[in-house]
Subunit: 80 residues, 2 copies
Amino acid sequence: MEKYTVRNKIRKLRFQNNEMTQEQLAEKAGVTRQTIIAIESAKYSPSLELAFRIALAFGVPLGDVFSYDPEDESNQIINK
Amino acid sequence: MEKYTVRNKIRKLRFQNNEMTQEQLAEKAGVTRQTIIAIESAKYSPSLELAFRIALAFGVPLGDVFSYDPEDESNQIINK
DNA sequence: CTTATATGTAATATATACTTGACATAATGT
DNA sequence: ACATTATGTCAAGTATATATTACATATAAG
């Protein structure tokens, strides 16, 4: 029954790679800056195609940008 | 200027893995059979989230199911 | 010949991704 | 004080993914 969520490292990658700006990434990925903002802040998750293009823009495989993880991150220590 | 396209190996994987039927895969991925048909026959490419769930259903990483390739496959031998 | 199962197609409807445009703010530089 | 650059937000519209329903076909089994 586990619930999963899509996570991304766009922000990290933007700063590692040439201090890439949102607008530059948007242009490289062929998409609007609004779209980058929305994805970066996880307002929604991109289409598979766009996910591939973003990974391409950074020159890394898709798995280095996006992951599909269980929605935990809270209850590790708290369990009694 | 290269044009890319999303390709998938769903059909192959369905037959390798337990002769999985479209409906079974749909159920595992939490989606309609129609959606599986459309993606399998590349009528459209899935959302990133669904792509992850399909890969999970097969127990393989996303890259084993979907790829982002140049739209060639035609002009290799024909170039004079 | 019928029944069941797997696959395909098509129409309409809903949800979500993506665009466009406008405006706000903080930081930096002149 | 003004201009520029990067980031963020909000609203309305367009495009595409996904759901729903219904029907068609092929195959294998009885």
